[in-house]
Subunit: 137 residues, 2 copies
């Protein structure tokens, strides 16, 4: 398989595949006259990386995860991440409430709205929005 075929089959760009190799998320592919050749295992390896990425792991964590797969040392990593994800879900529910509030808001200007916010939901908001979500759609 060439890198273009692998790219097509995985939906990952060729540059991202090269990047993953460089970052040691997937093993270094053998070369034929300088070019990478991939076999079926590359598909599985990339599936794992994408799964982990979709589960919210950073690439640094994924590197650790794939290198420590055999000895189960990655399990505490997954458990820690599960807590983080649940926390993020909680924050998202609060974001939803904030947005619903904002959509219903009748304030005539920004300062008035700010005043209303500070008086009515100070205790709900403060110390909650520490970790941010970046919602790139």
């Amino acid at each position: 398989m060439t890198i273009a075929e692998l790219s097509r089959k995985t939906g990952l760009s060729a540059s991202a595949i090269r990047y993953y190799e460089k970052e040691r998320l997937i093993p270094t592919a053998p070369r034929r006259s300088g070019r990478r050749i991939f076999d079926g295992r590359a598909l599985e390896q990339i599936a794992v990386v994408r799964l982990a990425r979709d589960a919210g792991f950073t690439l640094a964590e994924i590197r650790q995860l794939v290198s420590e797969f055999r000895n189960n040392r990655w399990r505490p990593l997954a458990e820690r991440k599960l807590i983080e994800v649940r926390d993020a879900a909680l924050r998202l529910r609060q974001m939803t409430r904030i947005l619903e509030r904002l959509i219903e808001c009748q304030c005539a200007d920004v300062e008035f709205c700010g005043r209303a916010i500070r008086h009515s939901c100070r205790e709900r908001i403060r110390r909650k929005g520490k970790g941010r979500e970046s919602l790139r759609p």
Copy 2:
């Protein structure tokens, strides 16, 4: 109010306040011998920015939001964002399921796990993990 006081009252760093001013998220504060002086309205303005930030708006969106507050043009923005947030919440629920799966996983090596993933939950995962969450805690 000096920038240090405003920083203390809002919990925002002084450099972040200066940055918000530069980016026109809050109005340019008047200066006394070169230094910014703030009044109570700054508190409200920053409350609005933080609310929006906590609701997941980018700073570019917040700039638009505060500049268009009076004429209700920000309402469609909020509605669009609400959809994004609900979408993100959905993805997070999937991430939770993926992590729970991963924690229960009995695979002996990465490729086998990848094979299992591709065969068992391909339809659940594909085309869902497009937008990523960055879970900075």
